[in-house]
């Protein structure tokens, strides 16, 4: 038999069998224990496999990455905080850091802002489901495919070659000279163009989540506010928006995390040239192009630390929500 088939069978049958066997064994072992100890021990025994997986695949690599970030390129010696000092001390990294910040702010602003706007508008039209589907579809496209699509959008050919890019074709019909869009690094213009690709994909996500939350608001609340003397703008600002706040927070954190993970779009559309590199991109480049796992690990740790406060706020908000539910 093909050894790959054997492996597949072992995985499909073996893994559940091992888990069931584990549960059976622990239950047998629990019987030997006293009445008092049993209920205390049981949850931990049931949790143990999941905790073990977390330890092996999450905790251990995290610690490993942290340790590696303190070592030199070859991993032979500890180098203190040299890798961190390097990261914050060279222009390329600082531009990446700046770009990641732009990603974070612009992507979140566009997706949440436009997502909310669209959610409010589609709520009032008859063809709501169609409109929502159309806006949501880009999320189903892979990052690479989306990048390719937008490469055509921003495409630039050196004149006199004909312009096939959508934007330059449009400029051409208006008689304006073509622009090499993704090469314009003034005011991080090209980075913002890349962010727009991601925003195109994720606005639908924000819209769907916000639209669901919007429908969860009791319409009598809005009517009560109108009767109380509120204008439509006041109803939105003082009733709708505060009630949407928890959902906006969830979408915002999701978008912040997505922004910090941005890599594919940069890789496909500019390969990090023209000052469009982002932090995650620097990490990959250090690891594979420059063979420096120490520096790559340091960048990974920096990204992790950047995400922790966002997650902490998110979790705290979630708990606060649960408390008044």
């Amino acid at each position: 038999m093909d050894p790959r088939l054997v492996t597949a069978i072992i995985v499909v049958v073996g893994v559940p069998a091992v888990l069931v066997g584990y549960i059976w064994l622990t239950e047998q072992a629990l019987r030997l224990l006293g009445q008092r100890l049993r209920p205390r021990l049981r949850p931990w025994l049931w949790l143990a496999p999941a905790l073990a997986f977390l330890a092996v695949f999450l905790v251990y690599p995290t610690i490993g990455t942290f340790v590696r970030s303190l070592q030199n390129k070859a991993g032979t010696d500890f180098a203190g905080l040299d890798n961190y000092a390097w990261f914050f001390g060279n222009d390329s990294s600082l531009i990446a850091l700046r770009n990641s910040l732009i990603w974070l702010v612009v992507l979140t602003a566009i997706t949440v802002g436009i997502g909310l706007l669209v959610a409010l508008f589609v709520d009032r039209v008859r063809y709501e489901t169609v409109a929502k589907s159309v806006i949501f579809v880009p999320l189903a496209i892979s990052m690479v495919a989306a990048s390719v699509i937008w490469t055509f959008m921003y495409d630039y050919r050196t004149p006199p070659d004909p312009q096939v890019g959508t934007l330059n074709a449009l400029l051409g019909t208006a008689g304006i000279a073509p622009v090499a869009w993704v090469q314009v690094s003034d005011f991080a213009f090209n980075t913002i163009l890349l962010v727009i690709v991601m925003a195109w994909m994720w606005t639908g996500f924000a819209m769907v989540i916000l639209s669901a939350a919007l429908k969860g608001i009791n319409p009598e609340l809005l009517e009560a506010a109108r009767v109380d003397g509120a204008t439509e703008a006041q109803v939105f600002r003082r009733i709708t928006l505060p009630l949407l706040a928890p959902t906006i927070a969830v979408v915002t954190t999701t978008m912040i995390i997505t922004a910090l993970k941005a890599f594919d779009i940069v890789y496909v559309m500019t390969s990090g040239n023209f000052d469009t590199q982002v932090v995650a991109f620097q990490m990959i480049r250090q690891l594979y192009d420059f063979g420096n796992p120490g520096r790559a690990s340091a960048i990974a740790v920096i990204l992790l630390l950047a995400i922790i406060p966002v997650m902490a706020i998110n979790i705290r908000r979630f708990r606060a929500q649960e408390a008044i539910r």
Partner: protein, 367 residues
Amino acid sequence: MATVTFDHVTKKYGEVVAVDDFTLQIQDGEFMVFVGPSGCGKTTSLRMIAGLEDITTGTLAIGDKVVNDIPPKDRDIAMVFQSYALYPHMSVFDNLAFGLKLRKVDKKEIDRRVKEAAETIQLTNLLQRKPKELSGGQRQRVALGRAIVREPAVFLMDEPLSNLDAKLRVQTRAEIARLHQRLKTTIVYVTHDQVEAMTMGQRIAVMSQAKLQQVGPPQELYDHPANKFVAGFIGSPSMNFLPVELSGSGETAVLRTDGLQIPLPSHYRSAVGAVTGGRFVIGIRPEHLDVAPLSGPSTTVQARADVVEYLGNEELLHVEIAGTDVVAVVSADRRVRPDDVLTVHLPLDKMHLFDAETELNLPRSAA
């Protein structure tokens, strides 16, 4: 304080008519109740006063100002919603103060009015709570308070008691009535519960199938229902109806149905003459039937007790008369048992007679 005037108001949703040619003048300071079964148009009418529904045709005026095109915020009305619609992210204080803040009332004045309203509805020690931390009854009071604090020209209440348990409902009913006596502000109150309507309203507008059926004080609706619908809707248990045919004329005219002949009361003699076809429906309230002789003119019928519902002070007797289940409310010391054969006394002076075709209550002549 203000009057509310409906002048031939119609509301359509596409082809569906929700309120049909509604004309009604609500007096300044009046407690008006809109009552009717669900889907009769009462809530739609209330929401039109609030400005939450557009008016298809006709005019609606608050005071002497036509408000058809005036948004809710400029109508000087306050509304209590069925779901209470308290702002969940605001404390009780902020819920009460919201309308005043929007109107840019002075902060000290807001403080004073909110405290005063909180005292009226006994919520002073809950002002810092969020709606989620309140019981159903307390939320209901906050909703009332939010309306009171605004000191509007008209209060609108949309089934405000329907989410309370029976005991609390009776209590709050009295509170709202007391509130009205004190504030003397026009109240328009919507309910599907005729007991609420009868106990609270100075006048009641009974609606059914998008149409106003009758409007008047509770006593008038009870004594002189305009048609069969109002007769059956007002009063509990409901009025008994027996379809009958008229035969004979003059002194000897009788209303006849299976095994039952009722002499036509003289005060209906002129009215039945105007009805062609001779088919009528008799209406008698359960509390007007008895198993003992009545003081006024009456007739009797033999009937077997089917079900007896004992209520302590009285009994609800279900008896079968001419193939129809008829309910009689009698004193509990009659001690009727199921299957007892009874002599049921029907009062002729309190009997109503409806035209079977139009379902209108026939007018009585003085003679």
